[in-house]
């Protein structure tokens, strides 16, 4: 498939997904009611549903999904490991500890502003810890050590979460588990603003590193000989991908599979050139998460399924089909 063709298809799909998401949700509204609400008419409660719940939720889904897929593609290139995903460095673990701690101590309910803040703090703590370990040996950042440190730090944080939950009340446990599974239900315009402020500049900067990331795929030594500033590229790209992940986890919890499956699917369709892979991953992740979230809201309405369940249910078979297709000559 051509890169431009896929890009156009993904943009159209994202636009269609946004239209669908405005039209359908947990509450049944007619097309007329939705249009009236968008135009500023209709009953107050309908305007609230469309303008203050559905729209920010769609935009947040696009930002988080795009950010996670872009971060996943970056981690896969830097760690030279196709199994890498945004949470591989313990970022989800750190964020979970922050969120669960706040819930368990009764400092905040599931919708309070303190929750994303605590999750972000936990995520940044995890990143700092992993970076510190990986650079302890000397002046260069060893990605193998980084990977090991990430796995160990994630295991430690997961033990922390288990400990906090084991001494918490049942209500807290349920709230924490739902948060960990990931949801876009907490979306608000201010949340969209803050997430966009992190995500868009970080994504833009990462796109400028596409060509050096291509060189890294054939090895750090060769990238060096071809004139890339390998240490700077590694550090900058890792920090940006980590920031994208942390911003996503803070507002939406741990949504799995987007960061792993989307970059692979794009790679299977258009190849590994990061100049195409990175922007298309962002678009693909945005589309995929927005669509998954609509399904999560309507399939068992009024009960909402955690969106992470849908991303796995949809993403895994889709990925297997693509993988199978790529193996057939």
């Amino acid at each position: 498939m051509s890169r431009l063709g896929l890009g156009a298809a993904l943009l159209a799909a994202l636009a269609a997904a946004v239209v669908l998401g405005v039209r359908f949700g947990a509450v049944d509204l007619t097309t007329g009611e939705v249009l009236a609400a968008l135009a500023g008419g209709g009953p107050e409660w309908q305007r609230q549903i469309v303008v203050d719940l559905r729209l920010p939720r769609l935009l947040l889904g696009a930002l988080v999904g795009g950010g996670l897929a872009l971060a996943g593609a970056t981690f896969q290139a830097l760690l030279r490991n196709p199994l890498a995903e945004p949470y591989i460095l313990g970022i989800s673990g750190g964020a979970s500890v922050g969120a669960v701690l706040v819930l368990a101590l009764g400092l905040a309910g599931a919708t309070s502003w303190a929750l994303p803040l605590a999750a972000l703090a936990g995520a940044i703590l995890a990143i700092a810890l992993v970076f510190r370990v990986a650079t302890a040996s000397g002046r260069t950042l060893d990605v193998r050590v980084l990977l090991l440190a990430g796995v160990v730090v994630a295991a430690f944080f997961s033990a922390c979460v288990a400990f906090i939950l084991s001494v918490s009340e049942a209500r807290t446990v349920q709230g924490a588990v739902l948060w960990i599974m990931g949801s876009l239900a907490g979306a608000s315009w201010s949340g969209v603003g803050v997430t966009a402020a992190y995500t868009l500049p970080a994504a833009g900067l990462l796109l400028t590193l596409a060509r050096p990331l291509n060189l890294m795929a054939i090895g750090e030594e060769t990238a060096h000989y071809l004139g890339a500033d390998v240490e700077k590229v590694k550090r900058t790209a890792l920090a940006l991908a980590a920031l994208l992940t942390a911003a996503g986890v803070a507002v939406a919890g741990v949504i799995g599979f987007v960061g792993l499956v989307v970059p692979h699917a794009i790679r299977l369709l258009v190849g590994s050139d990061h100049r195409a892979l990175l922007p298309l991953s962002f678009l693909g992740g945005a589309t995929f998460l927005v669509l998954s979230d609509i399904v999560a809201q309507v399939v068992l309405a009024p009960t909402q399924i955690p969106v992470g369940v849908i991303t796995a249910f949809v993403g895994v078979p889709l990925f297997l089909v693509l993988l199978r297709r790529s193996l057939i000559p």
Partner: protein, 265 residues
């Protein structure tokens, strides 16, 4: 381009003896220069020091009279194309994409590929006889094809010097000869070529000068005729050898002898 080492000492941290112990050598401009020696004698270390990627403990490693580590990376990459010993490619990549990477030092992170770049890529593909493979995934290439593609990537850098670490290891006769012919003709056109190899005979046939390393020290240096002495080679490789002119080419040829037989038997 000239590469020079002056009383060069390189020490790896945590190891007692130095990997290079006072090496002095000069690769003259426009020559094909071969570095030889037993495994672990410091050949690759010497290349890395001359390319400014290993810290120099004492002495100097210079490229065109300037400390190798003082060169800005991109400027050095425009002047010197490097084909390292081995690369593990993490993701699928076409031959053309691989060779186009050689344009990085000219384009930087965001520059767009122009007419000049496309011409350089096409020339490099042509020169290494891999134009037909341009659309192939590099992971599906044979060893000989991949090696030519990697050399094409270095040529696409349009460098004034090529540095290659064992470029013909594990290649068959045809591919080994094709690569050495390519390096020889590049040197004849004015390119400085610095190559590490294990093949004494071929180095003697193709190189202008040879450097023999043993335990991080220079044992012999000069034109092949002066380096290819059985006494010198036996001492370096610690194995009985015979050196005689090759009946077909007239260049010195090394024959390792069986240990049970006395030399000359």
């Amino acid at each position: 381009m000239r590469f020079t080492a002056q009383d060069l000492v390189v020490r790896y941290s945590g190891r007692g003896h130095a990997a290079l112990e006072g090496v002095s050598m000069e690769v003259p401009d426009g020559s094909l220069y071969a570095v030889l020696g037993p495994n672990g004698s410091g050949k690759s270390t010497l290349l890395k020091a001359l390319l400014g990627v290993l810290p120099v403990s004492a002495g100097a490693a210079r490229v065109d009279g300037r400390d190798a580590s003082a060169w800005p990376r991109r400027e050095l990459a425009r002047a010197v194309g490097v084909v390292p010993q081995a690369e593990t490619i993490a993701f699928p990549l076409t031959v053309r994409e691989m060779v186009a990477m050689g344009r990085y030092p000219w384009l930087g992170p965001v520059g767009a590929e122009g007419e000049k770049d496309r011409a350089a890529i096409a020339r490099a593909l042509e020169h290494c006889d891999v134009s037909d493979l341009a659309g192939r995934d590099v992971m599906t290439l044979s060893g000989g094809e991949l090696q030519r593609v990697r050399i094409a990537r270095a040529l696409a850098q349009e460098p004034r010097a090529l540095v290659l670490d064992e470029p013909t290891a594990s290649l068959d006769i045809r591919h080994e000869m094709a690569i050495l012919e390519l390096l020889r003709s590049s040197a004849d056109e004015g390119m400085t070529v610095l190559v590490v190899t294990h093949s004494l005979d071929l180095a003697a046939r193709f190189a202008d000068r040879m450097l023999l390393l043993a335990d991080g020290r220079v044992t012999a240096e000069g034109p092949p005729a002066t380096v290819m002495e059985s006494a010198v080679l036996e001492a370096v490789y610690r194995w009985p050898l015979a050196v005689a002119p090759d009946p077909a080419t007239g260049t010195p040829r090394v024959t390792p002898l069986r240990r049970s037989l006395p030399p000359g038997a």
